[in-house]
Symmetry: none
Subunit: 182 residues, 2 copies
Amino acid sequence: MDVGARLQAIRKLKGLSQRELAKRAGVTNSTISMIEKNSVSPSISSLKKVLSGIPMSLVEFFSIDFEQETPVQVVYRADELVDISSGAVTMKLIGKAHPSRSIAFLDETYPPGSDTGDEMLNHDGEEAGMLVDGRLELTVGNEVFVLESGDSYYFESNRPHRFRNPYEHPARLISATTPANF
Amino acid sequence: MDVGARLQAIRKLKGLSQRELAKRAGVTNSTISMIEKNSVSPSISSLKKVLSGIPMSLVEFFSIDFEQETPVQVVYRADELVDISSGAVTMKLIGKAHPSRSIAFLDETYPPGSDTGDEMLNHDGEEAGMLVDGRLELTVGNEVFVLESGDSYYFESNRPHRFRNPYEHPARLISATTPANF
DNA sequence: TCGCTGTGTTGTAAATAATGAACACTGTTG
DNA sequence: CAACAGTGTTCATTATTTACAACACAGCGA
């Protein structure tokens, strides 16, 4: 969805005219018009100024999702999960029919010897999980933990982290990440 | 945090020089320089073009949080979870030491005959969960489901929902809700 | 040392966006 | 109908941003 259509949709949702918004934002109505018609690409400062009249932040502006479809499916049977595995680790995603999920809820299985590798993620977000079977090694930052069945974790996704199973038995982990990066 | 500092921080995190990023993005190095020094306010299309060389979306760009989180507890042992039970249902919260959590990750146990009652939740958000033991009845809207071990669910929190265990054995559910309402 | 390659920082000219003042259109009101 | 207040659009001018090219500086190897 382009910037113009986005702005227009938001403006109309708020019940504002181009002139009204322009007045509140401290710009001219023609500016709003041009932006909405995509005949210009506004500068960050301009768009910020315009949005201040709503008011709305840049993040909100680009995040707003206008699709508000009613999610059809609620329950997913054990054999209905989407397999998004990469490598040895089995990852099954819950809620495949959900259009714009905000949680990535996974059922993960780490066979002996498996490893997610070192990830350096910068984006915002948090993740939590609980080990329901087996034993698993978790590294967050420069700390190494050994999770036993029933143990859990919670950390910021932007901290470098890694899961590894150096043990003899497979480990089963149920995890949740937000925002969903799948 | 301003746009210039933000771009510079991200660029350096990715280990790119101004020229390298400029080349990947299809702009000139001076553009990057000016933006980072805040001597200009780039247009949306320009910034988008620049970010495409990272690559990164506008949402991500404005969302990234550079605050170095104070190291908090990462791993929670099985006996360290916070019991937030109300009534017969046992609910244990993961990540008690986490200052401002965005996920409520719970280990829930429904004894035979237990029931969350009819909840009409107004708050926004989504929730997902997986049944790891027993059998549980889930009502969402006017639909009733019977979850077996390994089954899962995903729905919008604002839909009326209810969990109930009319069976003989306790049911264990692992769930995630966002945003966290605890 | 010199030359080279990388870095980021400037001028100046060309491209692009914002303003201010029109325009055309609609619905309302006397 | 005619005057009016509202809407969004368009155009010439002004202001801002971009590209291109040069510059200054730092590290490195012959």
